[in-house]
């Protein structure tokens, strides 16, 4: 389930391929429309929604401003509750810690709770390479794992797949060939397949939606109950979370547990909210390891504008409202973090030189900022990263064009002269009222759209004659 193969393909090219897939587009449209409407209704129910957003923004800003202190407090709290804390500076060291724990406990197969963080670090592949089989237990993640596919949405990883496709996959893999595409039958097939694994597993790996510095509590929210199985049945539990996933106080959960389900699934409450603090003798896992992951996050933290991206609670509301994402799907973003949040997170986590086209994968329509439950000003960060991308790229034809345009706009006489010149140059391309074909780079426009020519008389010419 690694995104590595796709990671550095430029967005426009990846999007072009995705757009050519008619089934994908239809699947995406239906799915994002449904979630978007549900979210709208759930959010409209709360009169204090804007206050909650502001509270969440303030809490996360405080967390990031004092992260050094909160991290140590979290470590202390987890340890006091009987857990073990590990610090991983990058993906490889996090994977190594998990693999080491599996080996030292003689585990060859483990069960997993859906976790973006483990997808980000490519944990399943690393475990497989070390001879450990990780079984995804979230329904959608299971679908992708069975098919060797990878997630295209933060919350609904198989959003790009429809029921008929899943039926075919199950018929090939875990169910009888006569299975139908009735959702109940599909769910039952997964249930039978997974139940055995839950009961046999001696180790589980989870992510965490929140980690509370004050108490050392970890929190996972989910819809299917598979997460509860994983975090309670196996004797050994390893939870991996990015260092930005902390909350200072237990009471902060009050804000976030209202914002998250309404923003993500459009539900008032998510069906399962699991909270666990350390270990309890005779109940649940008897050994708990918590891995705190950096993997580029401290670099994001160092950027005063970009750091707001670390407020993200992975609700995916920005994906569902994004006019780009809802057409291209998630794979085009080349990362487990697709959509608008991916466009600002991935270039920062990996370095702008490794994802220079992502900040441009937006029309700056601002729908993402409007719905973000923690008020991340995504358009602002996109512009900030575009600036970095331009600076990193050095001299380019676009840079020259922009420089020339700035020179022209610096004086009205130059702008008027440029307008007159362009009017002459456009003449051979005019067909009736419109321009239907232009050479590159404007061909990108005229391939699919007519272009309105410059007017025979500019406004300033008209104004001068009028006076």
């Amino acid at each position: 389930m690694s995104a590595a193969d796709h990671s550095e393909r430029p967005f426009p090219q990846a999007a072009r391929e995705a757009l050519a897939d008619g089934l994908l587009r239809a699947n995406m449209r239906t799915a994002t429309d449904t979630i978007r409407e549900k979210r709208g209704r759930a959010v409209a129910e709360l009169a204090d929604w804007e206050d909650l957003r502001e509270a969440a923004r303030t809490i996360k800003a405080d967390l990031l401003a004092n992260l050094d202190r909160y991290l140590l407090q979290f470590e202390e709290s987890v340890t006091a509750a009987g857990g073990h804390v590990h610090w991983a500076s990058d993906a490889a060291s996090a994977n190594e810690i998990v693999l080491g724990l599996a080996r030292s406990h003689g585990v060859e197969e483990l069960v997993k709770v859906k976790s973006l963080t483990t997808d980000e670090i490519g944990l399943n592949d690393a475990l497989a390479a070390g001879g450990v089989n990780a079984i995804e237990t979230d329904f959608a993640e299971l679908i992708l794992q069975l098919d060797g596919d990878w997630p295209s949405h933060i919350l609904v990883p198989a959003i790009h797949r429809n029921r008929a496709e899943i039926r075919d996959l199950f018929a090939r893999t875990i169910a009888s060939p006569s299975i139908t595409d009735d959702p109940r039958e599909l769910a039952e097939a997964a249930r039978i397949y997974l139940r055995k694994r839950f009961l046999q597993a001696r180790m589980a790996v989870s992510g965490a939606n929140f980690g509370v510095a004050e108490t050392g509590t970890l929190c996972v929210v989910e819809s299917e109950g598979n997460g509860r199985m994983c975090t309670t049945l196996p004797p050994l539990l390893v939870s991996i979370l990015g260092i930005e996933k902390l909350l200072p106080r237990f009471s902060d959960l009050e804000v976030f547990l209202q914002l998250l389900p309404r923003s993500s699934t459009g539900e008032r409450m998510n069906p399962y909210t699991s909270l666990w603090t350390g270990v309890a003798p005779g109940d649940g896992p008897q050994e708990l390891h918590v891995i705190l992951l950096d993997a580029g996050r401290t670099r994001v933290l160092a950027d005063e504008v970009g750091r707001e991206a670390l407020h993200c609670i992975r609700c995916s509301a920005c994906l569902n409202v994004c006019p780009v994402y809802s057409r291209t799907g998630g794979h085009a973003y080349g990362s487990v973090y697709p959509g608008p949040i991916g466009a600002i997170l991935t270039p920062q986590l990996r370095g702008i030189e490794h994802a220079p086209t992502l900040p441009f994968a937006s029309s700056l329509c601002g729908a993402c900022y409007e719905v973000c439950p923690v008020k991340i000003d995504i358009p602002k960060i996109l512009l900030h990263l575009r600036e970095q991308a331009v600076a990193t790229a050095g001299h380019t034809p676009e840079g020259l064009t922009m420089g020339a345009a700035a020179w022209i706009f610096a004086k009205p006489s130059r702008f008027a002269a440029a307008t007159r010149l362009a009017r002459l140059l456009q003449r051979p391309f005019r067909r009736g009222a419109m321009i239907r074909r232009l050479p590159r780079p404007l061909a990108a426009w005229t391939r699919t759209r007519d272009l309105e020519p410059l007017a025979p008389q500019s406004f300033r010419e008209w104004w001068r004659r009028r006076a």
Partner: protein
């Protein structure tokens, strides 16, 4: 000829009522680069609407571009210099109007000294000048596309709809997914041409399905994108800026 106007009664403290005349205001026009070179008819309509209300319009000839294209493409320094230039040119203007929500948004964001003085046209008319009935007549089926920046950056609210509802003979039709982006996005339309096209194709399908013969908006840039696609599809739907409809008497 002044337009028909609902008289406002002003009680002067005693039993005598007097009719308050609309005050004549001097308004400086920021035409924008697209408004200057590509769609000057929008500027002419803006001037016509304001003059018909009895206001005086000025056009500072030094103006060029607000710098949005540069800022949005990652060339912030050049863009901010252009925005700053606009702010200097309009430093003495008491009231500034521009027929583009997107350029107004950029200038308000980058040049705080313009805030409170710079208005998008529909905002100026409804919020500042307090008029929504302009005596315009436009007997057509019209779809209104609320552009992203008018909704979320400049936040003009329902000003354009109030203006459109007051236009004689105009039938305002429902547009599906009205608030969704048309896919223009400045250089986005070129850099991500396929995605931009997928977006505008859906927008045009919604426009055609609405049964409108005209689609209107507050931004000429978005109308270039929508109009360009409608023309390519030979959809038979015209694009007009709101100012052009309001100027129709």
């Amino acid at each position: 000829m002044p337009p028909p106007r609902t008289p406002t009664l002003d009680c002067g403290g005693t039993a005598s009522f007097r009719l308050r005349r609309p005050q004549r205001v001097r308004i400086a026009l920021f035409i924008t680069c697209i408004g200057d070179a590509v769609r000057p008819e929008v500027g002419r309509a803006t001037v016509a609407v304001l003059e018909r209300l009895g206001h005086e319009v000025s056009f500072p000839a030094e103006q060029t571009c607000c710098g949005q294209m540069h800022i949005n493409s990652g060339h912030r320094t050049e863009g901010e210099r252009l925005a700053e230039r606009v702010a200097e040119i309009f430093a003495d203007a008491e009231l500034i109007v521009s027929p583009s929500s997107s350029c107004v948004g950029t200038l308000r964001e980058r040049c705080p000294q313009l805030r409170g003085r710079l208005y998008e046209l529909s905002e100026l008319l409804v919020e500042r000048l307090g008029v929504s009935e302009l005596g315009a007549v436009f007997p057509h089926r019209v779809a209104y596309h609320p552009t992203c920046h008018s909704l979320r950056v400049t936040q003009v609210g329902d000003a354009p709809l109030r203006l459109l509802r007051a236009v004689g003979g105009l039938e305002l039709v429902e547009l599906a997914r009205a608030g969704e982006c048309c896919g223009f996005g400045g250089t986005f339309a070129l850099k991500n041409a396929e995605t931009s096209t997928a977006m505008v194709a859906d927008k045009c399908a919604a426009i055609v399905a609405s049964g409108a013969s005209v689609v209107t908006a507050l931004d000429s840039s978005c109308l270039l994108q929508i109009g360009g696609r409608l023309a390519r599809e030979r959809a038979g739907v015209r694009t007009l800026h709101l100012a052009e409809i309001l100027a129709h008497a």
